[in-house]
Amino acid sequence: MNVFEMDRNFVIAAYSVMWVVVLGYLVRLIRKGSRARTDYDGMVGANGGEKP
């Protein structure tokens, strides 16, 4: 394996890490967000739309 091929592997590694981190965090946010939204809507509904 020559130097350039090795370099390319590092570049691929860098971009992969970037996408794994960013997409991982995105998935976490979306899941957490939809759970929180469901809970919130449920509580607003139970209170007949009234705020505490």
Partner: protein, 237 residues
């Protein structure tokens, strides 16, 4: 301890983050990365490695931007005592920590082939690492304090004081290094490289904004749920 500020957060319903902002942000990242990888010539010294900079450098910028938001909103909270400012600062801190971790990982992936080592105790690297630790402490404080007013005031103080320290840490590490060996200078910049860097920075900025808004929405929702639960417990008695 009576929680007076919760009235204020309940006054306006939690905001909704537009899905489109997310789509646009991620489309921009894909576009910017494709564009910069295709157009940038292989660097004279660094070859293909230089392409790592398109994600590493903007990620570092976004880290500092996120922590600037933490500082500004922490100060604003201490000034105006509006709980939403605290929630926004906390959201920016979490997103900033994600970008900070990413910056460090990408820096190491760059350092291994370019310098032959995963880590050097250079001023920028070390102060970025210390910054990460400061905000890990900030997030830990929030996790370990239950009372919402205490949590807000304390983390605002920690956030503001932590941010003040960042330039001092940078300066001290720089002196610590430069008194013993000369600082490595960055290579010359190709104009094509600068354009790619800017595009990637703008794309990542959109992602940053989307993340912070989304995280803020969740924080507001969770806070409102807490208030509901508290009100229900009070009414039950």
């Amino acid at each position: 301890m009576p929680d007076i500020s919760s009235d204020r957060s309940a006054a306006t319903p939690p905001p909704r983050t537009s899905v489109w902002l997310g789509f646009v942000a991620f489309a921009a990242v894909i576009f910017a990365q494709t564009f910069s990888i295709l157009t940038s010539p292989a660097d004279r010294d660094m070859g293909h490695l230089q392409k790592i900079m398109y994600v590493h450098v903007p990620a570092a910028w976004m880290t500092f931007l996120a922590f600037l938001v933490v500082f500004v909103y922490s100060m604003r909270y201490l000034w105006k005592q509006n709980e939403n400012d605290d929630l926004l600062a906390a959201s920016a801190a979490e997103v900033g920590a994600v970008f900070n971790g990413l910056t460090l990982m990408l820096g190491m992936i760059w350092g291994r082939p370019a310098w032959g080592v995963w880590w050097v105790w250079d001023a920028r690297l070390t102060s970025t690492l210390v910054l990460f630790l400061i905000f890990v402490g900030y997030l830990a404080l929030r996790a370990f304090v239950d009372d919402s007013v205490q949590r807000a005031k304390w983390s605002a103080a920690v956030g503001a004081i932590g941010a003040i320290n960042v330039p001092i840490v940078y300066m001290s590490v720089k002196w610590w290094r430069t008194l013993h060996q000369p600082q490595s200078s960055p290579g010359t910049l190709d104009p094509a490289y600068t354009l790619g860097l800017r595009l990637n920075a703008i794309a990542l900025l959109l992602v940053l904004i989307y993340f912070i808004r989304k995280r803020y929405e969740i924080a507001r929702l969770e806070r409102a749920i807490e208030d509901f639960a508290q009100a229900a417990a009070m009414g039950g008695k």
